[in-house]
């Protein structure tokens, strides 16, 4: 069916039996789900059932690249992973950049499924078609940086290595998988990896990826690169941090655990301040002309020497949400999150929640091991991340994630900024009503990406008012479906428009690559992926009652800024949710109807 873009096979490794198999991929699945996030979800549907516990040996890590991963196009860097999340206890999809996916593809495989559990620590080494399970006891206990540096000697670059850190070894439910400076951050895939006694996967691929019409493909790629360079100049200059001050001005920058949308310490966490005082150089993922990652270093003070590349979301979570205006503390916190292998968003929002409990007197210095865990205390925030990683003091409870904390402290749920167990990103829905649906209906729990990043459309489109509920169901569905196919292609979303990948897909890049005319089908594929994910989470017990936003957004008016006075009442939210279900073809409880499944050729899954 395809004459390029795909290798047509994947590796299945069972760590219990130490078996390594090469298996073919049904091309019909690739036609229907593209690759990466979509294809990984399709395998998840078949292989990870309801009874599988996230940290049991029955859980699997399902990695897939997309058709564009590893090709010469701009930012063809992404790989998707699907697994059952220890943090949300349901389906998780996460995508990561760096050079890991491109090398997996060049080694001759579209994906990698890991199952079972090794009897002692191991790592996987893939060098083209030579795949080995190697002894990894000497790597256990090491930070991701140490592991990736060590395995770099075998494969060439640190970002060809995906590893989990000490937090994952301690089964911290917020632990990610680190790929050099990038990560599969959200949902706790790192803890799943460590529960299998798997410390790392190192990949080196030297093979080719077939292209159906190479000359035409290269012409499109050239145009895409030049468009992206120009249109994403601010991403190169400032990274995603460029939005920090802007979101604050718009009154939706979550501050002190979302108690307000305006941060008074904004000047020292904004992009310009970061550039002037901490920036060293840009870092780039595979074939990326944008290089949005801004490597920063602390030059003086107690965090002197700390180095990391804080993104908008990280600055939000470890900055304003914790009330921290000391950018050096944010760099340090980001560095230790990367090294210990913890998701910066989840940990920041959970510490922000703990800070609010501390200030309200529900927890004290006895619980925090002596830390004065007040908003704005950057040093305490950094120390608390270490306590979470080591499961010390209240860090042991916080390491359980929002769902685990809610079980122990049910009366504190009103302060928890999460949906389906996943902490929110750095946008306050009271400043953009559609963003409430983004969080509420995102298939992996509160996520600004999977759930559909609505900020631009809500702000700029003449069609929508950011403070109105009308039309938001239709808008969020369209953004989610767009993201559904983009995450399945193997590219970074930042460069998508360079290829013509919008909500009205155009161009011929996929035809030139694969020989199959995917473009007219892309939005349907995106909807199919999203609906498949919904079938999965329905199966896992998630319905309308789980598509709910935090109590704070529903009951507390925004106290200041551009969104002052705004609140999203239950009635307003339910009206948006009803509209969303209707345009999605889901019933009132949030289940896809038979008719919609038939329309999307998913009726074989009924």
């Amino acid at each position: 069916m395809f004459s390029g873009g795909y290798q047509g096979k994947y590796i299945r490794i069972n760590l219990t039996n130490k078996t390594i198999k090469e298996e073919k991929i049904n091309p019909e699945w690739q036609r229907k789900f593209l690759g990466a996030r979509g294809l990984a979800a399709r395998f998840y549907y078949n292989e990870i059932g309801n009874k599988v516990m996230p940290l049991s040996s029955d859980n699997k890590l399902i990695f897939f690249t997309g058709p564009l991963t590893g090709t010469t196009g701009p930012a063809t860097t992404k790989t998707g992973v699907a697994t059952k999340s220890p943090e949300t206890r349901q389906y998780l999809c996460s995508n990561g950049g760096g050079f890991f996916g491109p090398h997996l593809k060049k080694s001759g495989y579209d994906g990698l499924i890991i199952e079972g559990k090794a009897d002692k620590p191991v790592y996987i080494l893939i060098e083209d078609n030579q795949i080995k399970i190697e002894q990894g006891e000497n790597l256990w206990g090491k930070t991701t940086k140490e592991v990736n540096k060590k395995l770099k000697e075998k494969v060439g670059r640190e970002d060809q290595v995906a590893s989990c850190g000490p937090a994952a070894e301690n089964r911290v439910r917020l632990s990610g998988i680190q790929i050099g400076d990038r990560s599969f951050g959200r949902g706790g895939a790192g803890a799943v990896m460590a529960s299998k006694n798997l410390k790392a996967i190192a990949v080196k691929g030297t093979g080719e990826i077939a292209v159906n019409e190479p000359d035409e493909f290269e012409n499109v790629v050239k145009d895409a690169i030049s468009y992206v360079r120009k249109s994403k100049a601010n991403h190169t200059k400032y990274g995603t941090a460029q939005y920090t001050a802007v979101m604050n001005e718009l009154g939706c920058y979550p501050t002190r655990n979302f108690q307000t949308g305006v941060f008074d310490g904004i000047d020292t966490i904004a992009a310009e301040y970061m550039k002037e005082n901490f920036f060293i150089k840009n870092l780039a993922c595979f074939r990326c002309p944008v290089a949005c990652s801004q490597l920063c270093e602390v030059k003086e003070g107690i965090f002197k020497g700390a180095k990391s590349d804080p993104e908008y979301e990280t600055i939000g979570a470890l900055g304003a949400i914790c009330g921290v205006s000391d950018f050096a503390a944010i760099i340090k916190a980001n560095e230790i999150c990367d090294e210990l292998g913890i998701d910066t968003i989840s940990v920041g929002v959970i510490i922000g929640f703990a800070m609010e409990l501390f200030e309200r007197g529900y927890i004290t210095r006895k619980d925090t091991g002596g830390l004065e865990l007040k908003f704005g205390n950057g040093e305490a925030m950094v120390n608390m991340i270490e306590k979470i990683a080591k499961r010390e003091d209240i860090g042991d409870l916080l390491a359980e994630g929002m769902l685990g904390i809610a079980e122990k402290m049910p009366q504190m749920q009103k302060y928890m900024m999460q949906v389906k167990g996943l902490p929110l990103a750095a946008y306050d829905s009271r400043g953009f009503y559609g963003n409430a649906l983004t969080y509420g209906t995102s298939s992996r729990g509160a996520c600004h990406n999977v759930g559909g990043w609505s900020i631009r459309d809500e702000l700029l489109s003449g069609e929508y008012d950011r403070f109105a509920i009308e039309g938001k169901g239709k808008l969020i569905k369209s953004i989610q479906d767009t993201r559904g196919y983009i995450d399945s292609l193997g590219i970074c979303t930042v460069v998508r428009s360079g290829y013509g990948f919008t909500n009205k897909p155009r161009g011929k890049v996929l035809e030139y690559l694969t020989g199959y005319n995917f473009t007219p089908e892309l939005m349907t594929i995106g909807e199919r992926v999203y609906t498949l994910e919904r079938l999965i989470i329905n199966r896992e017990g998630r319905f309308r009652q789980d598509d709910i936003i935090p109590e704070r957004f529903r009951t507390e008016k925004m106290p200041e800024g551009q969104a002052k006075g705004h609140v999203i009442s239950d009635e307003m939210y339910n009206t948006m949710l009803d509209e969303y279900y209707e345009v999605r073809g889901w019933d009132r409880d949030g289940r896809p109807t038979k008719e919609r499944l038939q329309k999307l050729s998913l009726d074989d899954l009924i």
Partner: protein, 87 residues
């Protein structure tokens, strides 16, 4: 009438300010008129530069109002920032 303008990122570099106040004699002024004043002040075609950015009057984008014909009143706040896109 007095209009407050806040600039972000590139627009701070162009103007050298993060915030400024414009005092306009005419009482019926729209966004386009403000751009003309800024073009003269900074010797740059402001309307053209802003076409790649976002302009907000009080808390709404001019795209949701009357675009550049949006009428301003005394005390209004204008925000001028670069285009945003997801990441």
């Amino acid at each position: 009438m007095k209009i407050t303008i806040k600039y972000f990122l590139d627009f701070r570099k162009i103007t050298g300010h993060s915030k400024e106040e414009l005092f306009l004699k005419n009482c019926k002024v729209n966004v386009k008129d403000v751009f003309k004043v800024l073009s003269n002040k900074y010797q740059i075609e402001f309307e053209k530069v802003v076409s790649n950015g976002i302009v907000i009057v009080n808390n709404r984008s001019i795209n949701q109002l009357e675009k550049e014909n949006t009428i301003l009143k005394d005390g209004d706040e204008l925000i001028i920032m670069p285009m945003i896109s997801g990441g």
